[in-house]
């Protein structure tokens, strides 16, 4: 077991920067998730840790040893591929044994270690099956057992859940997380699904255009996003554009908003739907002094089951989505109703990104 350190890791293809100056210090036993849209450099980063892509600049250390120039087969990383990449001509047990054979584990010990690895993923009874005889979820667990069997220093997961159906995904998320914590293995996972990242990670990294946008715990990224991009990518936000004048934010639509953080010039507010208070009228405001409360009209309603999204039009340019808990009949605003909304004062504020 070992921590992983990436320093100034860059990969350029001609003029294209797949990753640029990625610095990460992943602690021993930590579960780190790289999150971002496709093409953000998260997979490139993962493949550099595994050794399939040679970085243009920067270093990779695992457990204090520099592995930057080592080929994949000399590194100790167990990778679970997005399509699992199980060897179709080998049985489940032979698949899991492959890494042990390659690492010159004595023949007598291989059987026991294969059984242990398969038991970890509750597949001991299917050892003699071939991959094509198994369901997607089972194949995924075989891939996991195979990656863990030779006891690598680092576990790498490349979108491991993207090929599973929604219901299974929930289940496997917890299984992987539990297994990772039980083994205490340093793990790096790549995903584009923010919910996966939020539920599994110790810390997460949001990437965009090859660069790290923000690194932190889920709470830090959700409650205090560092940029408009992070606010839109992790969770949902309604954005209100405007500018600061005299220490006070005024939206382009004319709303004056009190904010804890103050900037100068063009700026954007990112409002989480569940932090917006929805009331029947101004007297129903969440803030005692009635500040940050505005009147608006319900423009649309989306029923989500446990909650309801209410889109409120505040003026010609400013619209927000407020989320209210579904409490049955009584929580029934309908389109066209006059309502009031209240913004929190600790709303994240960013300087407007240059157009």
């Amino acid at each position: 077991m070992a921590g992983v350190e990436l320093q100034g890791l860059s990969k350029h293809y001609g003029d294209f920067q797949a990753t640029e100056d990625v610095n990460l210090d992943i602690a021993d036993g930590e579960f780190l998730v790289l999150l971002g849209p496709s093409g953000c450099g998260k997979t490139t980063t993962l493949r550099m840790i595994a050794g399939f892509i040679e970085p243009t600049k920067g270093t990779i250390t695992v457990g204090g040893a520099d592995v930057t120039r080592l080929p994949p087969w000399k590194r100790s990383t167990g990778l679970v591929f997005q399509n699992y990449a199980l060897f179709p001509h080998l049985t489940v047990a032979q698949n899991v044994a492959f890494g042990l054979e390659m690492h010159k584990v004595p023949k007598a010990e291989i059987g026991g270690k294969v059984a242990t690895a398969l038991d970890l993923v509750q597949l001991g009874h299917l050892a003699d099956r071939y991959p094509r005889q198994m369901s997607g979820g089972q194949q995924q667990r075989v891939a996991l057992a195979r990656a863990l069997a030779f006891q690598p220093d680092v576990l790498l997961l490349d979108e491991p859940l993207s090929n599973l159906d929604a219901k299974l995904r929930h289940e496997v998320r917890h299984q992987i997380r539990n297994l990772q914590q039980r083994l205490g293995i340093t793990t790096v996972m790549v995903t584009h699904d923010q919910e996966e990242a939020l539920t599994m990670a110790d810390r997460m990294v949001v990437m965009k255009d090859g660069r790290i946008q923000q690194l932190g715990t889920q709470r830090e990224l959700y409650d205090d996003p560092a940029s408009e991009f992070v606010a839109s990518f992790v969770g949902r936000s309604s954005f209100i554009k405007g500018r600061f004048s005299g220490g006070r934010f005024v939206s382009h639509g004319g709303l004056a908003v009190e904010t804890e953080r103050r900037l100068a010039g063009e700026a954007v507010l990112a409002l989480r739907p569940e932090r917006i208070h929805l009331g029947a009228d101004a007297a129903d405001a969440a803030s005692p002094d009635g500040s940050n409360t505005y009147r608006g009209k319900v423009a649309s309603i989306s029923y989500l089951g446990s909650s309801i999204d209410v889109e409120v039009k505040l003026n010609e340019t400013d619209r927000v989505i407020a989320q209210v808990v579904n409490k049955g009949r009584e929580s029934g605003a309908s389109v066209g109703d006059e309502v009031s909304v209240t913004f929190p004062r600790d709303v994240p504020v960013f300087a407007a990104s240059p157009a």
Binding site: F81, F87, M102
Partner: protein, 270 residues
Amino acid sequence: MFSNRRIGRWTLNALATLAFLFALLPLIFVTWLSFYEQEIPSFPPTGYSLHWYALAIANERFIDAFVISAQVGLVATAIGLIVAIPASIALTRYRFTGRGAINNLLLMPLVIPGIVLGFSLYIFQVETTIATELPIMGSFWGLVFGHVLLVIPWSVRLITASLVGFDRTLEEAAMNLGADPFTAFRRVTVPGILPGIVAGAMFGFVSSFGNLEVSLFLVAPGQTTLPIAILQYLEWKIDPTIAAISVLQILIIIAAMLITDRFVRISRVV
């Protein structure tokens, strides 16, 4: 009432059956003829016998020619694969200048008429034999060299086809688990493309085994391949022995196909 769709399907099936019968017809007639009783083929047959099979098997020239054909075919297939496997890997996995040209060159023997290929090889071997004074012309290896050219196009085509369909993340998975590139190739890639290799070998061998035009130019006196022995026999006689030996040849090839298909699903590749 038939829907358009059903009429279409019926037409397609009927045409396919016709084409299939058309291709099969010579085989059916040859097989039928091989059981005729009379020496000069005429219709209707006067009776049936296995007499011609006995004659074919007893004919030493056919047996010797069969052994030579088999030897040449096996050696040419082996050498052809040694060339075709690395060539296919290079063609499917790397981009280099002249890639298209090499691809075409390797498939060329399939396009050039056999007689032209045979004649060119003949001139080439005569000239090199004179220039180097090595015993190339009319040697076993001279003949094998010509047949390697028949094997290569088939095996390159079929092996590249299976390499293109091969999921390369499997190789990455092997390397991630500690296999160096050669071990990954041997343990994971080769089993994956085995159907292509076997099918390529099979088709290469068959095209070598049945080849007449190239062999005609390259064989030494007294060292004939089976198709040449059949041709020579036909110059003097047209009795059903030829039909019998042809049927035996077809049976051997069918058996080889069926046996390999049991181990490797060739039908998946071809």
